[in-house]
């Protein structure tokens, strides 16, 4: 129905807070809400939702294995690998699995067909539900460098007839692009500080590069200055919600609780945020 990504350039601006509260605020009115945690390096949404997991699956990337009986040590695999994951010695091929991107070129291009591929696990995806809310998430194994294949595996769980809320990782590079690309709308969560503004600018460039309509939530809106809001006005980014700093909110977050479960006014505000997004999306998609 709608794939809605929650992203930010800067970390710790409140992406997970917004994603979780938005999902929970919609639950009473909709039967088809799902939340997908694509922040696979530091996945936290499950800590607030406490879902019951029904499915757990290891996700891997295909890495090469060399059949040393067939190999003639010609060096072609090492030559075609752009990531230096294969080193061919006199009578041995060394494979540096953690450098492999799983592109498959070595196996395909080996003239002796001496390379096969097997899946090396890099993390886990889990799915389940928390009441009416469907939940899925990815969990990168600590020590693993490459998160995009795992993020893509989480995104495969998206159900097309659902309101799918995607909690993206921070930043503006490949993991974020994997999480937000193909979404219908990107909500950028920022804070009104110079760091927040600098990173909002980067995130806003990213969504325009990907051609996504976007809107902004300003978190801790009373800590800092008004340059962020001015920026949004100039960039034509609608500010859809402001969340002031509040020790009670901070305390709920610290305990792993969602404010909409405790406070009707906040539930109303997050429902209004969703209306803001769907209204804004229509405006944007008009030719």
């Amino acid at each position: 129905m709608i794939n809605l990504a929650i992203a930010s350039g800067k970390g710790g601006t409140g992406k997970t807070t917004v994603a979780v509260n938005l999902a929970l605020a919609l639950i009473p009115d909709y039967d088809n809400v799902e939340l997908l945690d694509c922040d696979v390096e530091e996945p936290n949404a499950h800590l607030f939702l406490k879902p019951e997991f029904e499915l757990e699956k290891a996700v891997g990337i295909p890495v090469p294995a060399v059949d040393h009986d067939r190999c003639t040590f010609c060096g072609r695999c090492s030559e075609v690998c752009m990531f230096n994951a294969l080193a061919v010695l006199k009578d041995q091929v060394i494979i540096l699995e953690e450098l492999c991107h799983g592109c498959g070129s070595c196996a395909y291009l080996c003239p002796e067909k001496a390379i096969t591929e097997y899946n090396r696990p890099i993390g886990t995806i889990k799915s389940g539900s928390a009441g009416k809310l469907k939940f899925g998430g990815g969990y990168l194994n600590p020590g693993e460098a490459m998160s995009p294949p795992l993020i893509n595996a989480v995104k495969k769980m998206i159900q097309p007839d659902h309101i799918s809320i995607i909690d993206a990782p921070p930043g503006t590079s490949c993991p974020v692009v994997s999480a937000v690309s193909g979404c219908d709308y990107c909500l950028l969560v920022t804070e009104p500080t110079p760091f927040g503004l600098n990173d909002l600018d980067l995130a806003s460039q990213m969504v325009s590069k990907l051609g996504l309509p976007a809107g902004v939530v300003i978190n801790r809106s009373d800590l800092g200055d008004d340059r962020g809001e001015k920026y949004c006005r100039h960039a034509g980014l609608p500010v859809l919600q402001k969340i002031p700093f509040d020790k009670e909110l901070a305390g709920l977050y610290a305990r792993g609780e969602a404010v909409v479960s405790h406070n009707r006014e906040w539930r109303r505000r997050f429902k209004a945020l969703f209306s803001g997004i769907t209204g804004n999306k229509k405006e944007v998609s008009r030719p």
Partner: protein
């Protein structure tokens, strides 16, 4: 010279504010590196003046020559990154730069072109040199760019006989974090006293252990989650991690950031004492553990 990396796992715990503050405590004795090349902010509060800048080109992108291409479709079939469109044009954002299509194309119609995917800079600050970078929007290879700024910082620190290379690490646990941690003598984890903060602390600690790097912990804004703060302290005790101090929530962090300066240049008194206590304690840990 000691290489010290400040990390957090979770974003927004206060790494950059604290790195700038630490630098202000030991002016002229260190070189700074901003290891967050996605969203680099350290230059915003250290009075940085850029005096050197370089292109970063580590990756290639496939380009199809439509004149030679006979639309056989092999590239589309082979590409595992969904970078080849139905009309055999390449999506440069999705392209991983693996060159598989270029090697496999029977007509040799695909060329791999170098692309500039970012820039890196050396700046002067009142505390010492700062090496930082800006990865292009939606680009790859952030780990490689982190390695470049880290190596440059290390080279500068050695050449000028500094005591410390202080690296402001990126959030997360993936490739840029691993690059920022590599070769570090000790890591300082800035933890947030929340349930997610504790969860992320456990994950970043596993990364440090995976690479054999000693870590100490500092809790920032400890008073915003007093119970979780206690849980983190208990966790550190259980895991044998040194707790080098706790810093309270203080609006001075945001106010000083708005002024473009480190909080230690903005306010004195109790907060300054807390921050310098954390730094001194961390240095002691780094000295002892790394000999």
């Amino acid at each position: 010279m000691k290489i010290l990396t400040v990390i957090s796992g979770k974003g927004g715990t206060g790494k950059t504010s604290l790195v700038a503050s630490f630098a202000s405590l030991v002016p002229d004795r260190l070189v700074l590196v901003d290891g967050d090349v996605d969203a680099a902010n350290l230059s915003l509060i250290t009075g940085a003046r850029e005096f050197e800048s370089h292109d970063f080109s580590a990756s290639k992108v496939a380009v199809v020559n439509p004149e030679t291409c006979n639309s056989c479709g092999l590239c589309l079939e082979l590409c595992r990154f969904q970078a080849v469109a139905g009309d055999f044009s390449i999506d440069p954002v999705a392209c991983e730069g693996c060159s598989f299509c270029a090697f496999a194309c029977p007509r040799e119609a695909i060329e791999m072109q170098e692309k500039v995917s970012g820039r890196w800079f050396v700046s002067r600050t009142p505390y010492g040199a700062l090496v930082h970078a800006r990865l292009g929007i939606a680009e790859e290879n952030s780990g490689k760019l982190v390695t470049i700024v880290r190596n440059k910082g290390q080279e500068l620190a050695k050449a000028s006989g500094k005591d410390y290379l202080l690296i402001d690490g990126p959030p997360g646990i993936g490739c840029p974090v691993i690059a920022a941690l590599s070769g570090a003598d000790a890591a300082l984890i800035i933890a947030e006293p929340t349930i997610p903060g504790l969860h992320d602390l456990e994950r970043i600690l596993s990364v440090c252990r995976h690479f054999g790097i000693t870590a100490a912990v500092c809790i920032n804004r400890y008073d915003l989650g007093p119970e979780q703060s206690k849980s983190i302290e208990a966790y550190c005790l259980k895991e044998g991690l040194v707790m080098v101090g706790k810093i309270p929530f203080d609006r001075a962090f945001v106010d000083s950031m708005v002024q473009g300066i480190a909080v230690t240049e903005y306010t004195g008194g109790a907060l300054l004492n807390r921050i310098s206590g954390v730094w001194d304690h961390f240095l002691n840990v780094a000295e002892q553990l790394s000999g």
